[in-house]
Symmetry: C2
Subunit: 405 residues, 2 copies
């Protein structure tokens, strides 16, 4: 067990070190750091004698081919990308932890009957391009991406092709592998519930629905000193009052409705010019579609109210993920294996979106959470104890064993 522990922590450290001296982890999809992460995983897979495939989006699949192949594939994994200034475990823990669980099984039990597949999805966070879960959506044949660009004007396709070309090592297959019989995602909780209740494992019933919008306000840029206050059409002042109003509205609709303006841009963004244009994101999540509908309707009517000429205000919805139920049978099984291993569990919904949400549309899917210290995630301070990280891998390993051997 000590050796196994060292491997898990050491592999996490290896990939996290690719971010060097940056603030937190910055494996934005198709960035140089992201490429290094996927390359490292491919190297580990090849060294372990696994069959390695890279698809057109840069998702990496590492297969231990089962004796019954081609019948039966059991998959686990998560995503390689991070948010800007992200943490060391969101996504990567499910990738490296899945690799560790499979490696442990093969070392202990030899070749499985069903194929064991580790998946490292290319992108889940939506941090670089205005689209989320592009990796799992491509694999699940749910949706593909067209005509989007990042904030530097680089197109998704250009970035994708250049990055994926760097994953084409000798011995690596290309193409889109078949769907598995089931998918299990190991992940940090990213919230405070397990830690607050002193529990080791979270089993996930469902994933909140989430919608993301971009609000664009066009006002009139002008001189900050010579334009009388009464003659101004200041896009940032309007944005500030709209953001305040929307925060109050969200709270009024439901205390469980999350509301986040995470991204805001100002033009020309200089101290002595009245802002002529502002864009900001709105991210909102809830387990009930009706609540999300109510918020969206109110958002649109609030925007109508303030869009008085010469102001123009528009809203663009670019994420609309429905609340999703995960597989109840797989959850019950995992609860059983957890008890067998002596691990305490909590059963709850996930406040974050996950690749599992996409995978659950096409195959039975479940998630295993481990505690996040202080509930912090999407930040450099994101952390989980080694003991909790190992417990999650142990449960995943037990679950995969019962499905494949």
């Amino acid at each position: 067990m000590q050796l196994v522990s060292d491997e898990l922590i050491s592999r996490l450290r290896t990939i996290n070190q690719f971010s060097g001296n940056q603030i937190g982890q910055n494996r934005l999809v198709y960035s140089p750091t992201w490429v290094k992460g996927q390359q490292q995983l491919i190297k580990w897979g090849l060294a372990a004698g696994m069959a390695v495939t890279v698809d057109a989006y840069g998702t990496v699949y590492l297969d231990v081919i089962g004796s019954q192949s081609p019948n039966g594939i059991v998959a686990t994994g998560s995503h390689m990308d991070t948010v800007v200034h992200g943490g060391k475990f969101d996504g990567l823990y499910g990738v490296v932890g899945g690799f560790q669980a499979i490696s442990n099984l093969v070392a202990a039990l030899g070749r499985p009957k069903k194929t064991l597949r580790l998946i490292s999805f290319s992108e889940e966070e939506g941090s670089r391009f205005p689209a989320t879960f592009t990796g799992s959506k491509h694999y699940a044949r749910v949706a593909d991406v067209h005509d989007i660009v990042d904030h530097h004007g680089i197109s998704f396709d250009d970035a994708r092709q250049k990055a994926v070309a760097k994953l084409q090592f000798p011995g690596v297959n290309t193409g889109l592998p078949a769907l598995p019989d089931s998918f299990t995602e190991l992940h940090i909780e990213q919230g405070p519930r397990l830690v607050n209740q002193h529990l080791q494992i979270g089993l996930v019933t469902s994933i909140v629905g989430q919608r993301r919008f971009t609000v664009t306000i066009n006002g009139v840029a002008n001189h900050a000193g010579t334009t009388p206050m009464a003659d101004r059409h200041d896009a940032l002042l309007l944005a500030s009052s709209l953001i305040n109003r929307l925060a109050i509205i969200a709270r009024t609709i439901s205390r469980q409705l999350t509301f986040t303006v995470g991204e805001l841009h100002v033009w020309p963004n200089t101290a002595n010019v009245i802002p002529g244009k502002v864009t900001f994101s709105v991210d909102t999540r809830h387990v009930q579609k009706a609540i999300l509908d109510q918020f969206e309707t109110t958002l649109r009517s609030e925007i109508q109210k303030v869009a008085v000429a010469p102001f123009s205000v528009s809203v663009n919805r670019w994420v609309n993920d429905q609340p999703t139920l995960l597989d109840a049978d797989m959850l019950r099984q995992n609860d059983r294996w957890a008890r067998k291993l002596g691990l305490s569990t909590a059963i709850f919904a996930s406040g974050a979106g996950h690749d599992s949400e996409i995978m659950s549309r096409v195959v039975p899917t479940t998630m295993i959470f481990v505690p996040s210290i202080k509930g912090i995630s999407h930040a450099p301070e994101e952390k989980s104890t080694p003991a909790d990280l190992h417990a999650g891998v142990a449960l995943l390993q037990e679950s995969l064993k019962h499905q494949t051997y």
Copy 2:
């Protein structure tokens, strides 16, 4: 007169064309476009047989040496830099218009008794580095700049030295020229008063005082989906409510007090992360120091109120320009010459800061304004009619003539 007209407009166009296909003018100090602007002016000066000097900050001085030299220097000019996405006339009109007035005088009357000096100050706007009027402050021996960097982390000194090196043409003197006997700045009004009253010339009694602050809010970055609303410390939500509150306070103190948040930055600035840090600028101006004092005291107390742990909020004042009286005698003379030329005048305070504010601390200084269409400035739509631009040059020319011949 037609030929003269063509030269003025054509020279403005030549320098404005250096910004190419960018949105508006972007001659931020020491940028490649700024370098081209100052180089062009130097070429015009050398071609006209003027004595050209460049100082250590990149301010350009073009002298027509008077017959009484070294006794007596009469200076005019303005600044070469612009705001981000600025207009075609702010600063540049006073530089090119001053050059035109001096050229016209020499063409018509030959060598002046006193030296005629055209000054193109390096920087006035404070758009790139957190400092304003650095060019005129250096010339007036009022202040020098130390240890500041732009948003890319480039130091003022590095940028300055590299750019100034590109102005060292053969025949160009270096060093800091002596102060003149007087300074006259020709400028667009940048506000709506002349246009609203259908008047041709504004004569400036005084310049508003202005203060600029940077407010920094540190909250806690966290996951936008899994962090309950009650557990958040969202730096952008706090910034929005603070900005709204400050706007109301400014209006309450005085309707004539301008309040602008022109620049705002968010960290990490990604849709699915609660903002952990926000900085924003506050620009506020008024003709009375007491009003500015009152605003600043209230700003500081409001910040104290919201700086509740784990939030930390700080304010840094980086501009504190006092309200300034310009020279009354020079204004009266200009009003006389304007009437002689048949030009209608208004006499008022300037809502914008100008190099004249700095120059007036060391020599008698006056300003001549021409109308801005719709009062728009610091934006690509900034415009003045050719007739008004020529009228301003004509008045400047008359004023310089009476001082030097």
